[in-house]
């Protein structure tokens, strides 16, 4: 073996070693990143701002509203306030009058309120609707399916969905009148 051959050999070996080590380190690094990212995502709700709002269909129980059932995809082109509530939840009760107050005006401007009730029976929902004279649709999620779909934790929880069917914002906790109006402005359909 000549000196040059040996040198070339050595260089080759060195390069192979570098490639081998780099590949192993990259593999290990990607495994670590995968673990950290999945662990970080585990605690988050599955849908957030920017995601497409998943479709659902539920029976509507508010007799003051003419709709019999609600399917989210039918509302495309309108801004949608998707609110999860229940009669036994106090902060939900607090924001209901605000929603009712803004509903007639914003309905004409192209916004629909969909207030999904997580209660077990229709009687309590109806009594509640009568108490506050609610007129927007209140679908009844008796089996908690839509709640599971949207991964709703503590209520009230509200998803503001823009006319393209994308979630504009997720609000956990009760809304004030001002904040509610601000969010409505964000999802107003463009003329």
């Amino acid at each position: 073996m000549s000196l040059e051959q040996r040198k070339a050999n050595k260089k080759n070996k060195k390069r192979r070693r570098l490639v081998f080590r780099s590949i192993i380190l990259l593999l290990l690094l990607s495994a670590v990143v995968f673990a950290l990212v999945s662990n970080f995502n585990k605690d988050k709700t599955s849908y957030e701002a920017g995601d497409k709002a998943p479709d659902f269909k539920l029976q509507q129980v508010n007799k003051n509203n003419e709709l019999e059932s609600i399917q989210l995809s039918d509302l495309e082109g309108k801004g949608v306030m998707l609110n999860f509530w229940a009669t036994y939840c106090k902060p939900c009760e607090a924001e209901m009058p605000f929603m009712e107050k803004l509903y007639p005006e914003y309905k004409d401007k192209g916004i629909e309120i969909v207030a999904v009730s997580l209660d077990a029976n229709e009687l309590v929902i109806n009594r509640f609707i009568d108490k506050y004279d609610l007129t927007f649709p209140t679908p009844h999620d008796a089996n908690s399916e839509v709640m599971d779909l949207y991964d709703v934790g503590p209520i009230p929880s509200t998803f503001f969905i823009n006319p393209d069917g994308e979630i504009e914002e997720v609000v956990n906790g009760a809304l004030t009148l001002d904040k509610l109006e601000d969010h409505f402005q964000e999802i107003l359909p463009k003329k």
Binding site: I24, F34, L58, S73, Y88, L118, N121, D148, L149
Partner: protein, 549 residues
């Protein structure tokens, strides 16, 4: 990179301590294993060059050599151990007791454990085992494991493959077991070789230099073991993907039909009946537990089980729309006896007893001491009607319903949607009259609005039902854990129950040098040598380590 040429002609890589071929100590590298200060040679990894110790030019090489250090690995393990231990001092966030005044970790730890609790919380120990830095520690241990193993296995494998029967004299004389015999006949030597063969040693002969070796495969034990560990770590990693691993919990009431969480609305479960058996104190079989049962005071569950039906929904349904259900299985789930279907396993895991299901009421005259029923009606507490028409012309209208009644600053409210403590506000319309009377009725409560009611409502009867708690699990990573654990065990056995033994015979003049090395059980190899030289005049090897001490 400088190569080292040994006098035997073999070219060794830089950092070699003992020549790969003949074993002669390489002068300038003796400090690496500390051989310069002792008589005996350190035989770790057969004196090969662990390359990471010798060159680290690029950043990749530097990272590599950092993780290649066993010292670093041990430190990582020690740090993780200490952190884990600290993590057990106070309860983790998910184990904050339900009855704690505040379950908010920001408040709980300080309130309960004072300043140490506060520090504990602030440093993130309350959620240690899923915190990013704990996960990084585990990951670093994993990386260290892979690189340490690779960096040792490869050179050791090569060295044992390249080793020659002919070894340098110094190599032999600096082994732990060594002897020199001045006069040995060829016949005697042949006898020894035959005896070694009989003991299932592999013999290599190089111009009369003999290497007898057995159990080299034992040396791979630790690396096999590490492969097992890496597979286990990998399996744990795969548990993050919901497709491979899923762990949910669902409460199903008797008679209720519910979607099974985690199945994307594909499977539904119906709870037909829940049964709880408790230990019977009067049963002779339980005689010896009598005292213990008495002491406990409450009934102790002996077994609990649910009769369930599993349905599959037609896939096209939009979430929430009434799906068409197809019954796929009807079975019984007992503790430790789960139900399996389509990759999911349902375990009986908990229960809540005696939730109200229905309640029947009667209407009677307030002044009637016998409370003779004028009419009765039954309310389904999960779906009550607005109005009930009684047989004798009475009408009862539900003004309000509180499934889980409590008083909130004097105002009746419901705590949840479950009928745990049902209460009603009812209007009673006597037959043919529009003059209604208001009553409030619940468990142990019966209030009339103005105190002038003519009629009173009484609870006649109620039906209770139980709620079954089921764990829903899908775990495709389990086989990988089993494979990893099995390989781990094979590695342990391989390294534990086999020994790597080598015996060298080196002719010198009319006699020979005899030396031996093993990775464990020195007593055993001495026995082997005793046996093979028993018929000869060859001197028994001397344990030079014992001499040294």
């Amino acid at each position: 990179m400088k190569k080292i040429k040994c006098e035997c002609g073999h070219i060794n890589p830089e950092g070699t301590v003992l020549c790969e071929a003949c074993g002669k100590p390489i002068e300038e590298n003796q400090h690496i294993e500390g051989n310069d200060k002792r008589k005996l040679l350190n035989m770790r990894y057969d004196g090969t060059a662990r390359r990471s110790l010798t060159y680290n030019r690029s950043i990749v090489d530097k990272i590599w050599s950092f993780f290649s250090s066993v010292k670093v690995g041990i430190w990582l393990i020690v740090i993780t151990l200490i952190a884990s231990a600290i993590g057990t001092i106070f309860p983790q966030e998910m184990y904050i007791p339900a009855e704690a005044p505040s379950r908010d970790p920001a408040i709980f730890y300080e309130a309960e454990y004072g300043i140490f609790g506060k520090i504990y919380y602030q440093l993130g120990f309350h959620n240690l085992f899923s915190s990013w830095w704990y996960m990084i520690l585990i990951a670093l241990i994993g990386i260290s494991l892979v690189i340490c193993s690779l960096d040792r296995f490869v050179p050791l494998y090569k060295a044992l493959k390249k080793q020659k029967a002919k070894r340098h004299e110094t190599f032999l004389s600096r082994q732990r077991l060594f002897s020199e015999t001045k006069q040995v006949s060829e016949e005697e030597k042949q006898k020894v070789v035959e005896a070694l063969k009989k003991q299932r040693y592999n013999i290599q002969n190089e111009n009369g230099h003999i290497l007898a070796e057995k159990g080299r495969f034992s040396r791979w034990g630790p690396y096999v073991n590490h492969i097992g560990l890496i597979i286990i770590l990998l399996a744990a990693l795969l548990r993050f993907t919901p497709f491979l691993y899923l762990d949910e919990y669902v409460w199903v009431r008797e008679g209720e039909e519910k979607v099974i969480p985690g199945t994307d609305g594909e499977f539904y479960i119906k709870n037909k009946a829940f049964t709880l058996d408790t230990y019977d104190i009067d049963d002779v079989e339980n005689e010896r537990f009598k005292e213990a049962i008495k002491k406990e005071g409450e009934p102790i569950a002996e077994n609990y089980e649910s009769d369930v039906v599993i349905y599959q929904a037609e896939k096209s349904a939009v979430t929430g729309a009434e799906p068409e259900l197809k019954k796929i299985i009807e079975d019984n789930i007992t503790v430790n006896n789960p139900l399996k279907f389509s990759g999911f396993t349902l375990y009986q895991a908990g229960y809540q007893l005696n939730e109200f299901k229905t309640m029947s009421f009667n209407v009677h005259e307030k002044n009637d001491p016998e409370e003779k029923a004028l009419g009765t009606f039954t309310i389904d507490l999960m779906s009550p009607e607005r109005e009930y028409k009684l047989d004798n012309g009475f009408r009862v209208k539900v003004e309000n319903y509180y499934p889980d009644y409590y008083l909130d600053n004097g105002e009746p409210r419901s705590e949840s949607k479950y009928p745990r403590n049902p209460a009603f506000v009812l209007w009673v319309y006597p037959p043919g009259s529009e003059e209604r009377e208001l009553s409030f009725i619940g468990i142990g409560k019966n209030i009339e609005s103005q105190g002038e009611n003519k009629y009173k409502i009484g609870i006649e009867d109620f039906e209770m039902r139980d709620v079954s708690g089921l764990t829903v699990r899908r775990d495709y990573t389990l086989p990988l854990f089993i494979v990893g654990a099995a390989i781990f065990m094979i590695g342990v056995i391989q390294g534990m129950y086999w020994y790597h033994r080598r015996i060298w015979i080196h002719p010198k003049g009319d006699g020979l040098l005899l030396a031996a090395h093993t990775n464990k059980n020195w007593f055993g190899i001495k026995k082997d040598i005793e046996k093979v030289i028993s018929d000869t005049e060859i001197n028994m090897v001397v344990d030079q380590q014992e001499l040294e001490d």
